[in-house]
Symmetry: C2
Subunit: 684 residues, 2 copies
Amino acid sequence: MKSPLVFVLMFQFAFLCSSSQVKADEGMYLFNDFPVQVLKERYGFEPTEAWANHLRLSSVRFNSGGSGSFISSNGLVLTNHHVASDTLHKLSSPERNLIDEGYLAKSWDQELKAPDLELNQLVSIENVSARVDAAVDDSASVEDAAKQRRAIIATIEKESLDATGLRSDVVTLFGGAKYHLYRYKKFTDVRLVWAPETKAAFFGGDADNFEYPRYNLDATIMRVYEDGKPAQLDNFLRWSDQPLTSGELVFVSGNPGRTQRIFTVAALEYLRDNRIPYLLDYLRRKEILMQQFSLEGKEASRRARDELFGIQNSRKAYTGMLAGLQNPLTFQSKQSREDALLAALATDGKNSKLAEAWPEIAAIQAEKKQMLGKSVSFRSSLFGYALQIVLLGAEDQKPNEERLRGYTDAARDSLLQSLLSTAPVYGDLEQVKLADELSRLIERRGADDPLVVKVLAGKGPRERAAELVNGTGMGDVEERKQLVDGGNKVIAASTDSMVELARAVEGDYRRLRSENERIAESERQAYARVSEAVTAIDGTGGYPDATFTLRLAFGEVKGYQEDGRNVAPTTDFAGAYQHALDHAGQQDFDLPESWLKAESNVDLKTQLNFVCTADIIGGNSGSPVVNRNGELVGLIFDGNIQSLTSDYLYSDEQGRAVSVAGVGIIEALRAIYNANELADQIGK
Amino acid sequence: MKSPLVFVLMFQFAFLCSSSQVKADEGMYLFNDFPVQVLKERYGFEPTEAWANHLRLSSVRFNSGGSGSFISSNGLVLTNHHVASDTLHKLSSPERNLIDEGYLAKSWDQELKAPDLELNQLVSIENVSARVDAAVDDSASVEDAAKQRRAIIATIEKESLDATGLRSDVVTLFGGAKYHLYRYKKFTDVRLVWAPETKAAFFGGDADNFEYPRYNLDATIMRVYEDGKPAQLDNFLRWSDQPLTSGELVFVSGNPGRTQRIFTVAALEYLRDNRIPYLLDYLRRKEILMQQFSLEGKEASRRARDELFGIQNSRKAYTGMLAGLQNPLTFQSKQSREDALLAALATDGKNSKLAEAWPEIAAIQAEKKQMLGKSVSFRSSLFGYALQIVLLGAEDQKPNEERLRGYTDAARDSLLQSLLSTAPVYGDLEQVKLADELSRLIERRGADDPLVVKVLAGKGPRERAAELVNGTGMGDVEERKQLVDGGNKVIAASTDSMVELARAVEGDYRRLRSENERIAESERQAYARVSEAVTAIDGTGGYPDATFTLRLAFGEVKGYQEDGRNVAPTTDFAGAYQHALDHAGQQDFDLPESWLKAESNVDLKTQLNFVCTADIIGGNSGSPVVNRNGELVGLIFDGNIQSLTSDYLYSDEQGRAVSVAGVGIIEALRAIYNANELADQIGK
């Protein structure tokens, strides 16, 4: 339902970013289309197929919205604390606050099972473009083309699932120029082994978020189990014990969520003038709401914190993105590229018709603007469960290939994994969140709108939210299971207040979803032609926009200049203690007790964080950083504020990916957390 | 520029609230139109003219947006800490943090002069309706009528100022059915005598704001000086030393800022669906901005806090107002009153034409909606100074009666008092605020808007804000004085960056202001007919909507029911200490050191806060509460959350005004603040 990552708020698309436009260390490359030539020319490095396969199989995707890696033969997984925090939050209670206090399992039986985590290991990639294209009638309308494409994708996914037992997702790349079938091994028994305190992981808090230099131990270690035992892994990352050096070549293997680098100027204007301001209003509203709820006391604060952090993170990221878009230089750069491309197209007889895609995309932006704020998916876990159950019941009545995405046979296990989560749902928080959503519904549609009248049922938002939350059993996994098992008839007859609400808005939800899909399909088709035009003019060899699937990025460890100062590429533990002193008395700048006690044990010169020029984005959180030998040297956890434009414009002038150093994690485990046994397993 | 009071964000109008609609203790009565009959019938109390005059002359208005009272013959003034906080903030520095630490002057020479405070004592009220009406041509267009009215008002004010030397304001009441000339004695040498710590004044912080029970010492004492000596006052309030009792009749004499109880259903819909959501988006944005700035450190936090508090206060107030408007019962109640009135009008041959005002008002709401967000007045002190100076230079070239309101001869002293304030302006804070305003300008108007292009000058918001703030001397009172003294030619030739910006937007500012004034005038004229209709159907004898001028409210000390619990009308010091214990570890719930140290000295049974049914609104903060004998028994500082609808709908079912008890203030001064000398002066 929520994640600290920027990624989850965004839709997904993959568009081509042409190689001739690719600058410096830009690029999020497909694992089946490695930038071999670039690496060889620029860095004199030639990755072997074995090198690439090992890295791919050592990488994992967290379906909650992040990345990670296998780091031992006995199933250990490394990710960020802020990727794990969703799980830490769900495993916490008033008596056991894992977010504040951290955790260390002293033995296997103390490892805590995550309520709803699914990890994916990318086992194979197969090009299914021809089969998808063949199934779509060239002369079909936008709606029919979308339907045909959805049907063939559902069929391919189901066949693959039936044949291999593997999670099978068809991924749309290059705006629909390519379709690849990704097969994943799934791990659903994932257990918490070690997490530091938030004070160490998120040291500097919201103030330091997206800033650099940093001193954060934003790391958590989990373990995947199979058949109740630690999974035995053939592929996992060994760790380098050497400090990072400036200029060193490094690689990032992770799942960037979404980029939009192919966007036309008109599309960027829509982001700048409509979508991002809209999202920021929304996020600020939710931020204040969660802050207000937190003021009610310590337990309220605990309940709200994970979501509040995610909102703050997104708000700061979008603020930075908007600042980049509001800088005229950004548009000048984009506009001149676009002008040059269109000028070249105009004289290219064979391809000149492709230029029609630009005005089409501009017209689509106006449609998207009309759709902003029309959603009927309230930000409430209870409502979310109810809506999913209602949709599941109805979709199950249809043939597999006609179902909504997310409700097909291939997607069923993952859907159930999320629906039958044992994570606690807090009624008081739900009530406050739902009241605000109802209030927002009135604001967006007006009090006399038929849907509003139906949803509010003659009451004010607060009264109605209380009634809905008090009248539902959706917080209870057993009640959800009964409905899911009962199927459509039982669901349709349920008098649960949230299920009734979900049924009441189902028609509107479906209409809006279908309308959004139609717009998305038009846009996809237009961008496919933009991709074609770019390829025609600039040649092939680039990388597609991000799709929350595994990609390789590369770059070098490198400092930068800021306000006339040199920012060094690495920080160390000594810097962390000094940073705390420099900000004494400020919120979120106190190190945890464990760090203060251990100061004399720690080798203060050990590297803690570093920056590199690799091209990352939200979703890459938790990605391993490896060296030429494929050894882990770091753990991505942030981008600096100058990198926030990389959603639409990569720059390595100041933009940097920020990582925890691998040597820093080992030092912390041994010298601060007395976790020698755990440290001994890592990389072995 | 800013104030903790809701009031400052709002425009001002006065409309009739008919007596037949007036319920229970509703009403904010004019001091020259006392509710004698109501008080006699309901409470058996007949105030004498002397009683009323004494209370009026003992009351003061804080031009920064609040109320207060004279409480000693030697010039002491009582108001809220949150009314004084603007001054406390301006008198503070990194070394002397009056907001955190409070203050007590041990002798007269330690009393600290406020940089720009103006206090007004209402000396007389004169009905000038006939003269205003005579000056306006019945057949004039809306624009001409407004011009004629503004001209006659400027003339009356100037004549009065010249004749009496008193501040002279013509106040528009009952939607223009009446015009009264208010003459004020001004006090501009106002000094700080005592303030408690914020921890005592704002105990419970944002969480407890607008809640009850409360335990707040939201009080500050200042002193007015004349000719460098404490002013000798004939009229001041004596203090009751008796505890308040349930059912006791009390009076509130203060300056409610704005109510809109006469608003039609269409106007309330505009508030609900457009204006308040718009304001809340704005406020939440500024709240996050100021929070983010505060994260930069202790000094940043100090600089931002007063404004942040004001924003939070407004945000919470508007949230409550919106909740009331989103409750269908509110509209049902308003709609049925309106239906009844219109039905009665329809059968009233003489007055039936007045019904045309309703559709006119509905049409005006659509115009107002169009104007939302069109402002070019950036929320920046530096820009504000520059714009005022540019306008002053230009307006001075015109005859007095043609000038903008606020720039006439009668208003000049108050304008200069504000322009030549010695309050510090913080460049870092200004830069952040201005960058956000520029960003917002792009969002609202689009990057290609001519005004945006002119204001941004080819740069991003942050770069442009830095350039503007670094290139201005508007933070220096001497530079402002030079421009003001130099007059229009000097101002027009200035190359100060902010003055240049103000000149660049002056045309747009004037166009928008004039457009807003035209809309306001149309609305005023329509509401004058609504008032006429109400009077025709329901009779006279009510009170006009609030106008930030002196009013009398009354009610009784009275508890209420909430969620099935009885809420007692009074709290005491014992409750304060208990409240701190109950919320140990929560932000803003720790009492200051002074209170903890003094606990054994304090008579814990002394009353600290109480609630009553008197009809108040933002601007009433700091109002004295007196008993039948005219003795001070309390100090208004808040309304509870249920009273937040009182902007448009008074209810005494749960809505209450919240006050500090007079006996509590005396107890705190003596037992906690060792301020016996000060306490000895009070009431004498």
